[in-house]
């Protein structure tokens, strides 16, 4: 009797655990959003920064689009998807700092002694970053439209950009969490994050047309996830996109997302063992 019941009971428990993990991730995402809301200065900069990037670079390099290689779109139109993905990466670089705060206080220890799903602790942090990225991306598009840019790809194009930006955000958020859990200091996290993000933004086609990149930068860009996201996003916003190029790069982003999420989970396990 008990033998026949056992598998069903087990399945129920597994289902229950998945349900609990999802609920926990939602609560933890909500907690992070509340923290953001309660820090008005931080919230303001989170929202204003993407506008600044778009308007600043848009004005600074406006004439660049006169060069051959940018096609028949304005520089602002060229730049918008690039700024969306660059902002996604830069915001996500800080994702690990919440973990460091929690470790330095007793919050992480309290969470780990509670039934909170271990996966949810990572998923919650990544989901929060995804929400922030979508909001920031929509702001960039809004500012672009107000400044006179037009995106032929329409709603479908914008949705693809949001998808690519979110995947890129999750990649860097997971990396940031892994670094945070391994090095456990805000200073080290800031160092690593600064070291990576700006060079990766510049060694890509975010600001410069592919044909105009110096040879070696072009080579680096081919392996740069920021460039994958920027190219896929730009293509998707064109009037008649080459969808195979778009989904090829989105696929690469999705694969890297899985790798990074696995890495963050590994770092989390290593942290737990070291307690």
């Amino acid at each position: 009797m008990s033998a026949t019941l056992a598998p069903a009971a087990q399945a129920r428990t597994a289902g229950g655990q998945r349900g609990a993990a999802l609920r926990h991730a939602v609560y933890l995402t909500g907690r992070s959003l509340r923290i953001l809301r309660r820090e008005p200065v931080y919230l303001a900069f989170t929202l204003i920064q993407p506008m600044v990037w778009l308007l600043l670079f848009g004005a600074l390099f406006e004439r660049v689009a006169d060069l051959p290689g940018f096609g028949d779109i304005s520089y602002l139109e060229y730049l918008t998807p690039g700024v969306v993905v660059m902002t996604a990466m830069m915001s996500a670089g800080w994702a690990g700092s919440q973990f460091i705060d929690d470790m330095q206080r007793g919050v992480m220890d309290r969470n780990l002694t509670s039934p909170v799903s271990r996966g949810a602790l990572i998923t919650g942090a990544l989901a929060y970053q995804a929400v922030v990225t979508v909001v920031q991306s929509l702001i960039v598009f809004g500012v672009g439209l107000l400044a006179g840019a037009r995106y032929d790809g329409g709603v479908a194009g914008v949705l693809v950009v949001l998808l690519c930006a979110t995947l890129l955000a999750v990649i860097f958020a997971a990396l940031s969490c892994a670094v945070a859990l391994t090095l456990r200091s805000q200073e080290s996290l800031i160092g690593v994050s600064q070291f990576l993000t700006l060079p990766l933004a510049f060694m890509s086609t975010v600001m410069m047309a592919p044909a105009l990149l110096p040879g070696w930068v072009g080579t680096v860009a081919r392996y740069n996830p920021v460039d994958w996201a920027a190219r896929a996003s730009r293509e998707a916003l064109l009037g008649s996109p080459d969808w195979s190029a778009v989904f090829g790069r989105a696929g690469l982003l999705a694969a890297l997302t899985l790798v990074m999420a696995w890495l963050a989970t590994r770092a989390f396990r290593a942290y737990q063992r070291s307690v």
């Binding site: 609990a20 919050v107 309290r110 002694t113 509670s114 039934p115 909170v116 307690v275």
Partner: protein, 347 residues
């Protein structure tokens, strides 16, 4: 009668090879249900490591830990539902209000919305936090914040509560307040409490029973009264002006009538005497005769400090400092000297 908490032969080593640090070398004790049990010891004695093993944060190299009838190594998931944990460091969310903190905690344990509200109200009321409940906790006083930490740990009605140094960093008034709350926990909810502390008076005040832990080992166990009762007479402490005279002073004091065991701890000698007031004149004369000038001389009724001194062979405060400084060179020398004295005495 089943125990609420049971440790058997817990061993834990951090690091590997030459850098390995043995945090626990065979800790064992048992805690009856509904009582407050104290884990007393200086910094670095192994109190927090023991707590981390019981709260599923850490796993022992060997030995078993059982909480509420559950083996921590085999059923960590069920253990987590049965326990509440207040870590040494503050664990509330400073950007949230008191109520938001409790609500999230309730959700984590899968409590229903209405249960979260009633239990939250009950705890806020009991800990005197109801008026501040909807204010951001960052603005609360240290004592209120620490009470919230305890309330969070009690939210899901655990059977066993682990308090890791709950009053460290609190001012005396907030500490007394917290002591009252902790005593209330066992009475109101029938919860079993394991309390770690390096405050002797805290263990004396709160613990029904306690163990003294030193260098990863249990060195004494009993009620505070039993432990103090094991010491007869008064405690005399001689502080030497010149530490190099320690041996001469030791000999002189030992020769005085009525002096029992003597422990040397750096520039200090601790002696047990039958009657402090009656022994003092002879003791002063003996020191004078040996050419030793004491910087101070004190007589006191036995305290847990003396219990600790007797079992660990060094005074609690010097052990505490050694633990804090990560045992710097001089302190290691002091404590090994103390240990030699202690083992010499046993022979």
């Amino acid at each position: 009668m089943q125990h609420a908490i049971e440790a058997k032969g817990l061993v834990k080593t951090y690091g590997k090879g030459a850098k390995a640090v043995r945090a626990l070398s065979g800790v064992g004790f048992a805690v009856p249900r509904g009582t407050v049990f104290g884990l007393l010891g200086p910094n670095g004695a192994g109190k927090s490591t023991t707590t981390k093993i019981f709260t599923t944060l850490s796993t022992p190299d060997s030995g078993t830990a059982v909480v509420a009838g559950l083996d921590v190594a085999k059923e960590p998931g069920r253990v987590r539902h049965a326990i509440g944990y207040v870590p040494q460091k503050p664990c509330f969310d400073p950007t949230a209000t008191g109520r938001e903190n409790l609500t999230l905690q309730g959700h984590v344990y899968g409590m229903s919305g209405s249960d979260i509200r009633t239990r939250g109200d009950q705890l806020l009321e009991r800990f005197g936090l109801a008026d501040a409940a909807n204010r951001i906790t960052k603005t609360w006083s240290g004592g209120m914040q620490r009470k919230l930490d305890v309330a969070l740990a009690l939210m899901h009605r655990p059977q066993v509560l682990f308090l890791d140094e709950p009053t460290t960093g609190l001012d005396p008034e907030a500490r007394a307040d917290m002591w009252a709350e902790i005593s209330g926990v066992t009475q109101a909810d029938g919860v079993t409490v394991l309390l770690t502390t390096h405050y002797l008076e805290e263990a004396d005040q709160l613990a029904d029973r306690l163990v003294i832990i030193d260098r990863g080992q249990v060195v004494a166990e009993g009620t505070p009264e039993e432990l103090k009762g094991g010491l007869e007479g008064d405690a005399v402490q001689v502080e030497l002006a010149d530490p190099s005279q320690q041996e001469a002073a030791h000999r002189a004091v030992a020769a005085v009538r009525g002096v029992g065991e003597i422990t040397a701890d750096g520039a200090r000698l601790h002696a047990r005497v039958g009657n402090g007031a009656a022994t003092l004149p002879g003791l002063l004369a003996a020191l004078d005769g040996a050419g030793v000038a004491p910087a101070s001389l004190t007589v006191a009724r036995p305290s847990l400090d003396d219990v600790y001194l007797r079992h660990a062979g060094r005074s609690f405060h010097s052990a505490d400092r050694a633990g804090l400084a990560g045992a710097t060179q001089t302190e290691v020398e002091v404590s090994t000297a103390a240990r030699r004295t202690a083992s010499g005495r046993q022979q």
